[in-house]
Each structure stands twice: as structure tokens, then as C-alpha cells.
Amino acid sequence: MLVRTQNLAKIYRQGKVETPALRGVDLAVEAGEFTAVAGPSGSGKSTLLHLIGGLDLPSEGEVWLEATRVDRLSRAERARLRLYKIGFVFQAYNLIPVLTALENAAFVLELRGMPPRERNRRAHEALQALGMAELANRRPSELSGGQQQRVAVARALAARPRLVLADEPTANLDKKTGLRLIETMRRLNREAGMTFVFATHDPRLLEHARRVVWLEDGRVVGEERR
């Protein structure tokens, strides 16, 4: 078992207003899965991914990554856990604006303390796998939205984490570009054995998922395997 959540609940508090975003989610993800978390906007997809990745702490319940209880770790320990085991791809603003595509792809490896030559080699390979090698020296502002998302995936590929969490990675892309990105992620899942959990509310992307978990109003309301 790679990821397991148990009775996971999250209530956002803003002054006296309480917004329940998750209400008791039990989810298990095995290594090698290509799983979609689907559901309408506001159903709690982002919250779930954030809690699994230790970006936030649950109000109740447990999050396990392999043998580690994520919600019991300190802020710094959670950051370190992400550094070595979890990759993130967000909807937008995935890249550090002042770094080139290559530097962005190598950034996690740099944080891990890998020497420049080796990390650049790996980042370059990853960019190549995503068809981005020619644009390695461009800054994010010189890349299209689809290209930026590819660099973000390349960053995850170069870092080889146990788990990649992608929060609506195609939401800002046009239909064709979005489909190509999902197909590429699926290919990496098959060929490199990377585990993906991605959130989406776009039904067309779900066809590529091997497993779909349906969220509604902070609860799991259904599940499909293909």
C-alpha cells in the first residue's frame, strides 16, 4: 500500500464560518496506479490531494504514506517527505519564473543536493521524454501553458518520487493539449512505473484513468476500475 487515508475530514474555519471540505474519506492507492479523483468543483478534490501531500493537516483522520503517518509530521518533516517522495503538478503557476525550463526540471534534485552535472543530465532526459528538450533554456514566460505543464511533469519525472499528485493539471489547457498531457502522464505511468493520482472534473480525461474515485460534497460516492 502506497497511500492510505482513514476517516479523513477537513473543516475550513474562517472566523465563525465553518466549511466542511472532506467528511470521512477512506482511500487506498497502490504503487503503480493511475487514479483520477473526479467530482464537481468544490467537492474537495484539492483538499484531498493537499492532505495526502502534507501541504495541510486534516481536522480528523489519518494519512499514511507507506509506513509514515503524514499528519503527525512537523512542517519541516512534511517538506522533506515531499522532497524525496512526492511530486506535485498544479493547475497553473507550477514553475519558478526566474529559472529556465531545465533549471525548473532540475529544481527538486537541486534541493536534494545533487551535483549540477548529474541533476542537469537527469532533468534533460526528463525534458526529452516530454518532447521539451529544445526549449530547455526558455523561461516559463516564454513557454505556452501546455509547455509549462510539461516542464512540471518533467520535474516530477526527473525526481522519480513514489507518488505524483496532479491537481487539475489540464484545466488551463485547450482540449487537445490537455489530452496529450494526460496521455504522456499515462505513458510515464506505464513505462517508468510512476504512480499518479490526479484530480479533474473533465469527463473526457477520465477515459484515460485506470481507476476513478468519485467525490461529492467531501464524500466518496463511487469508484470505478478499468
Partner: protein
């Protein structure tokens, strides 16, 4: 990380440059102010030591002795010159006297000076000593004497003639009015004939090349060597020992200037804080991303610090260049505006001053800059490190 910090700095180029400019200005201003401070201190040093010498030889426990034991042979001069070749040595004889005018007599301190010597020049401001006695203006007024008149002197306990009738050569104004009321100068030869033939109260020593307050070590060395060579019963005092308050005042003055510079840097720190904080608030989402990618709070803290330190370093280097240039200009010699110079000349500031900077001053200014950066970066760095990544990622700039 260093490259990242550096590039982040230049995202808001105008703001960063402006802030670096402020740091540069404060560093340059600090250096210029300190250079100027030392110039003024050296000016006063030169004036004061022209009046009291760098070193003085006198009888030990001078104050506690009876008059006749306060003098020593003028021939000691040869001994001084043997130990300190090239030094200027002038004898001075001091003896209490009663000066008789037409209607009243006044007590005075008879001062025997070498005509044409440095002491005579700095004390008498050009009044001719050769023609007889030079009286303090206030004393002359009380005695109702003018140049050309005669005064009668009586010296108690004198070893020499003890009394005499002398023409008034000139009158002179002194800075200290108390001193002026009792001032009476004679050529050293005349004074010693009256008071103590062949004797002096002090040998005042001017060391060639000593023109700065900071050359104290040379004075101490000369003092030690001379003390060892002179016969017993005599002591060698440095200028700062004869007028003990003076060097303390210089130190206080210097510290006050450092305090001013420190206050400048406090203001610079506020501007730095503003810049760092602004650039942070524009990048909340990005800090969320950094955290999501695995940057620990400690490293985030460090990143903000690095950016601030680099910005300050750029500013400090520019300031060092600018301040250095200003200092070099001051070091070649500068004059104060005439109106200012005139009012300060009274207190002994020479017309041309020479800027001077000490290594400690430069280090201290750079240290101030560093402290300003450390101070300014702390709060923003702390905030950035404490950002909740999930919240930061959802952050929409207001």
C-alpha cells in the same frame, strides 16, 4: 539557491536598485562623515599640540612642589635631542608674578617663551615678543597699560633678579578669558634672568611628522624612550596627559558620529524591510510552490535572508566606491566655507582639513550595513517560512 536568490532580486529591478541605492548612499554618507570627523579631530589635534606640544618634560609631582623646585636646568634639552633627534624642543618658564600698574597691581603668571618659537607663534598670534612683555588684553585693561608703557614686575621666591621694569610690547586676546586676565609673556632669556637663571619649567617637544590623533603609538614610544634616558626627578608627559579631558572628548565625539551613522542605518533597515516585505507579498503563491516541492521552512528562511544580504551587499559595494571617492577627495585637503571656518577658527580649527578613515571605521560601517540587513530580513523571512503551503497555493493577490 544562490542563483535563485540573485535572480529573484532583479525581478523588481527598479525597486531593488532603489533600495541598493539607499544602502549605498548610507554607506557612502557614513564613510564621508567619519572621514570628516577625523579631519576635524586632526585639525584640533594639530592646533592643541601646537600650543602644548606632543610631549612635555617637567619635574615630577610638579604641582606639589615649592616654586624653587619646579624648575630644572635648560641644558636637559641636549639630552632630549640625543634621544629624539629632529624633534623641536622649546623651553618654557612659568613663575607667579605681581604686575604693578598706575593705581593697582594684579597677580599674573609670567610665561617665558622662546621668541620665534612655535609656542610663541601659536600663543601670541604674531604679537612681537622681542620688544618686551606681551600682556593679556584683559590684564592690560585692568592695569590701564598700552603698548609702549612700562610695567613693574615682582617675582616672589625668585632665584634670579626677582624684579624688573619692562616695556609692554603688545597685548593679546586668548580663548580662555581667565587665562587672559593673568597672562604675561616674556622672552625666555629675560624671564629666566628674573626668575631662575639657566632653568626652565618645561621642555615642550614637537615630534616631526606627528600630525594626526591616531599617531598616539609613536608618542607613547617616544615617551618611553625619553623617560628611560632622562635623569631621575623628571617626568615625560604626553599631551593627553597634560590636558586629560581632551582625548576623552575626541573619543566621545567619534562615538557620537558613529551613533549618527548607526541611526542612518536604522532608517536604511526600514527601507530594506519594506522592499523585502513587498517582494514577499507578491510571491506568496510561489513560496507555496517552493514548499510543495519540498523546500523546508529553514531553507525558505535562508532564501529570504540571502536575497536581502545580496541586495545589501550590492548597495554596500556601491557605497564603498562612492564613499571611498568622497574620502579620497577629503583626504587631499578641504576648506570649510569661510563663514563656518571663521566661527570655528576661534576654537582652533585650522583653515585646511584632511580627511582620514581608519580600517575599523570602514569595517564598522560595513558591519552596520550587515546588521541592518539581518534586522530587516528577519520578520519577512520568518513570515515566509511560516506560510501554510496549502493556503499560500490558493492565495490570490488582493
Amino acid at each position: 539557491m544562490i542563483a535563485l536568490a540573485w535572480r529573484n532580486l532583479w525581478r523588481a529591478r527598479a525597486r531593488s536598485l532603489l533600495t541598493a541605492g539607499v544602502v549605498a548612499l548610507v554607506v557612502a554618507l557614513g564613510l564621508a562623515l567619519l572621514s570628516f570627523t577625523w579631519a576635524a579631530v586632526n585639525g584640533y589635534f594639530a592646533t592643541f599640540t601646537a600650543r602644548i606640544g606632543h610631549l612635555v618634560v617637567r619635574v615630577e609631582n610638579y604641582e606639589k612642589r615649592p616654586l624653587v623646585e619646579r624648575v630644572f636646568p635648560a641644558g636637559t634639552r641636549a639630552e632630549v635631542l640625543r634621544v629624539l633627534p629632529g624633534a623641536g624642543v622649546e623651553g618654557r618658564l612659568l613663575w607667579p608674578a605681581l604686575v604693578a600698574g598706575e593705581r593697582r597691581s594684579e597677580p599674573a603668571l609670567l610665561t617665558g617663551l622662546e621668541p620665534g618659537g612655535r609656542l610663541a607663534r601659536s600663543l601670541l598670534k604674531g604679537a612681537p615678543l622681542e620688544g618686551g612683555a606681551v600682556l593679556g588684553r584683559a590684564l592690560a585693561v585692568r592695569l590701564q597699560k598700552r603698548p609702549g608703557d612700562l610695567v613693574y614686575l615682582y617675582l616672589p621666591e625668585a632665584l634670579g633678579e626677582g624684579s624688573g621694569l619692562l616695556p609692554v610690547a603688545a597685548t593679546v586676546e586668548l580663548l580662555e578669558k581667565n587665562e587672559e586676565r593673568a597672562f604675561l609673556a616674556l622672552p625666555l632669556a629675560t624671564a629666566s634672568r628674573l626668575a631662575a637663571p639657566g632653568m626652565v619649567s618645561e621642555l615642550v617637544i614637537f615630534l616631526p611628522g606627528v600630525v594626526r590623533f591616531s599617531q598616539q603609538a609613536r608618542l607613547e614610544l617616544a615617551q618611553r624612550r625619553l623617560s628611560a634616558a632622562l635623569p631621575g626627578g623628571l617626568e615625560v608627559l604626553r599631551w593627553d596627559q597634560t590636558v586629560p579631558g581632551l582625548s576623552g572628548m575626541v573619543r566621545v565625539f567619534h562615538r557620537m558620529m558613529l551613533l549618527f551613522v548607526g541611526i542612518f542605518f536604522l532608517l536604511a533597515a526600514l527601507i530594506l524591510l519594506n522592499t523585502v516585505y513587498l517582494s514577499l507579498s507578491e510571491r506568496v503563491r510561489e513560496f507555496g510552490l517552493l514548499s510543495a516541492l519540498g523546500m523546508t521552512p529553514g531553507r525558505v528562511f535562508l532564501l529570504v535572508y540571502l536575497e536581502t544580504l545580496m541586495l545589501t551587499l550590492v548597495g554596500a559595494l556601491l557605497g564603498l566606491l562612492l564613499g571611498g571617492a568622497i574620502h579620497l577627495r577629503l583626504a587631499r585637503g578641504f576648506a570649510l566655507p569661510p563663514e563656518v571656518a571663521e566661527s570655528y577658527a576661534e576654537f582652533g580649527l585650522p583653515p585646511v582639513l584632511y580627511g582620514e578613515l581608519h580600517r575599523q571605521d570602514v569595517l564598522l560601517v560595513l558591519l552596520f550595513a550587515l546588521a541592518a540587513a539581518l534586522l530587516a530580513a528577519f520578520w519577512p523571512a520568518f513570515l515566509a517560512a511560516r506560510l501554510e503551503p496549502a493556503r499560500a497555493l490558493r492565495y490570490v493577490a488582493a
